[in-house]
């Protein structure tokens, strides 16, 4: 039982960091293990890379700090080597970093080159996408990463009750759709044929950072979109290809989409208006940002809906 939430402002931007925090915090009872955000700030021509060099529950052994520092310098030197100009590298925690770089080359080779450093995992990469995830509830993660005041247009979030893999940052949602810039996925449910898909996707050269079944969806959508399918088509394909019970949301640079399995086994409540679309596993999350009575509905089985800005 996880909780998912998504929001898209169709008329300009808002403080989505604060809004997502309120939505996710109201669903804390659905998943207290970890909380994650995929937020879209104003797009720039720079690339934002969110990466971590250790997990938050890794043992703080001898020379932990020095090792992280060494690896961070290695990241910077590798970025320079591959032809990226570093604008800024900052960190809010000991182990998670945010780099802004100017880079025109291939994203896959950049990611692979960075992830070759021990402990390094690229959480997100894109012109406006930023994935922030850590252990604890939304209020804790928001405070840790200073998300209050994050201006943006749309985003998704997730509170996790771990069922299929470990409680750590790698197992936390949202998942970036490696190696596709500005695509992320959150998922509530269980996939039953994920080993088969994992093997198949690994054969075609994709990497998986976790044992979590949900990562399949992100990589699956990325592969379909690399083949030229639109987000909506790729999501429709996934309904036939993926087995199990699921409701998931996907975001790209300009759109937000949701898909539900053929049994409609997992909940989702949807609020739609001209300037705002908000959806969440429970209506209480939508009411956390809209302080008035609203008309909401449940999407039906096998339904895929995509909204664009």
């Amino acid at each position: 039982m996880c909780g998912i939430a998504g929001i898209i402002h169709r008329d300009g931007s808002a403080d989505i960091g604060n809004e997502m925090t309120r939505m996710l915090q109201s669903m804390k009872h659905r998943g207290p293990d970890s909380t994650g955000y995929a937020l879209f700030g104003p797009p720039t021509d720079l690339i934002v890379i969110r990466f971590k060099l250790a997990d938050s529950n890794d043992r703080r052994d001898f020379e932990f700090k020095e090792r992280l520092e060494r690896h961070r310098l290695e990241v910077e030197s590798r970025l320079n080597k591959i032809g990226a100009t570093i604008d800024r590298v900052e960190s809010e925690t000991q182990y998670a970093y945010r780099a802004r770089v100017r880079y025109e080359g291939d994203i896959k080779s950049l990611t692979d080159y960075l992830e070759d450093i021990p402990g390094c995992e690229v959480l997100s990469l894109g012109h406006s996408l930023e994935i922030i995830k850590d252990l604890g509830d939304a209020a804790e993660v928001c405070e840790q990463y200073n998300l209050d005041g994050f201006e943006g247009t749309h985003g998704i979030g997730h509170v996790r009750m771990a069922t299929e893999s470990d409680v750590d940052i790698s197992g936390a949602h949202p998942y970036w759709a490696y190696p596709f810039s500005d695509v992320a996925v959150v998922h509530n449910g269980q996939l039953t044929n994920y080993f088969r898909w994992k093997r198949r996707l690994e054969h075609s050269g994709h990497r998986f950072q976790s044992e979590c079944d949900s990562e399949i969806i992100a990589v699956y959508l990325a592969e379909k979109m690399a083949d030229g399918r639109s987000l909506e088509d790729a999501m429709n394909d996934s309904l036939d290809d993926l087995d199990g019970v699921f409701t998931y949301m996907a975001v790209t640079e300009n759109s937000l989409g949701m898909a539900k399995d053929e049994m409609a086994a997992k909940p989702l409540v949807l609020y739609e208006s001209d300037d705002l679309v908000a959806m969440a596993s429970e209506e209480i999350a939508i009411r956390a940002i809209l302080d008035r009575e609203i008309d909401t509905r449940d999407p039906y089985e096998k339904q895929v809906l995509v909204w664009s800005r």
Binding site: M263, E282, E283, I284, R287, D295, T296, R297, Y300, E301
Partner: protein, 264 residues
């Protein structure tokens, strides 16, 4: 005097997992001529339910209005007396579960599992409802003016569920008795593995579930439908299709265990 800030008001649990074991009845209602109303803004789920119970059982008030429940879960559960209840706003999951007797109007939307295991009474929901609406209800009328999610009336053992809009997948799954009236369309797997009972659908049915077949229409059906629509003043569609159990899955052993021994 200690001021209570938000942090101290956070939900507390006791050793058995009961939330807010030391909550007090807030007693914030306006009571006038046997009618009471209160604003649920700022009250926790348990405080709202304590207030309701205090009004209904201790003060003996039979007409209560709850304003602004703000989609909280588990509101007005287990009310076992005849009374009028009006809920102005939306409810979250498991609202109005296990009730026996009340007549309820909800002006907003309700989440999953509303009226689960209702025994008797009338519940009218003026907007949409989530999945598992009226799961395992045994009696009474449940009227949803809007549309409902999946698995409406799963394991229904009596009563009537009347839906003004569409219904989702696996509606009336394992239904055992009672009636469902769906004015809009029904999703795939309608009446899957039903044992008994009757489903009326005015719109299109995406697909029938296993062992659900079209039934023969008779005068009792017409009388039943007319009666229900006249009570609730809903707009009646021109025609309905009737679905019942095909009884092909009936595979019961009609002998008691000790009789079986004798036969074998």
């Amino acid at each position: 005097m200690v001021t209570v800030d938000d942090r101290e008001r956070r939900t507390k649990y006791d050793a058995r997992g009961l939330s807010e074991p030391h909550a007090n009845v807030p007693k914030v209602s306006d009571i006038e001529e046997g009618r009471a109303s209160f604003d649920a803004t700022g009250l926790s789920t348990r405080e709202i339910n304590l207030e309701l119970r205090w009004l209904l059982y201790e003060e003996g008030i039979g007409d209560v209005t709850v304003r602004n429940p703000a989609a909280k879960h588990s509101i007005a559960v287990g009310i076992l007396r005849r009374c009028n209840l009006r809920i102005e706003g939306s409810l979250g999951y498991f609202g109005l579960g296990l009730i026996d007797g009340p007549e309820v109007v909800v002006t907003g939307r309700v989440g999953w599992s509303v009226c689960e295991n209702m025994m008797s009474g009338v519940v009218v929901i003026e907007k949409n409802a989530g999945s598992l609406t009226g799961a395992a209800i045994r009696g009474g009328d449940l009227v949803i003016t809007g549309s409902v999610g999946a698995r409406t009336g799963v394991d229904q053992k009596g009563g009537t569920i009347l839906i003004g809009g569409d219904a989702g997948a696996m509606t009336a799954f394992m239904m055992q008795r009672g009636h469902q009236i769906i004015c809009g369309d029904a999703g795939p797997g309608l009446g899957d593995s039903m044992y008994d009972g009757t489903i009326y659908v005015a719109g299109k049915v995406k697909s029938l579930g296993i062992d659900c077949v079209e039934g023969e229409w008779n005068d009792a059906d017409t009388e039943f439908i007319d009666r229900k629509f006249s009570i609730y003043g809903l707009e009646k569609p021109n025609s309905f299709q009737k679905f019942v159990c095909g009884k092909q899955l009936y595979n019961y052993d009609s002998l008691e265990p000790h009789e079986r021994k004798l036969v074998i």
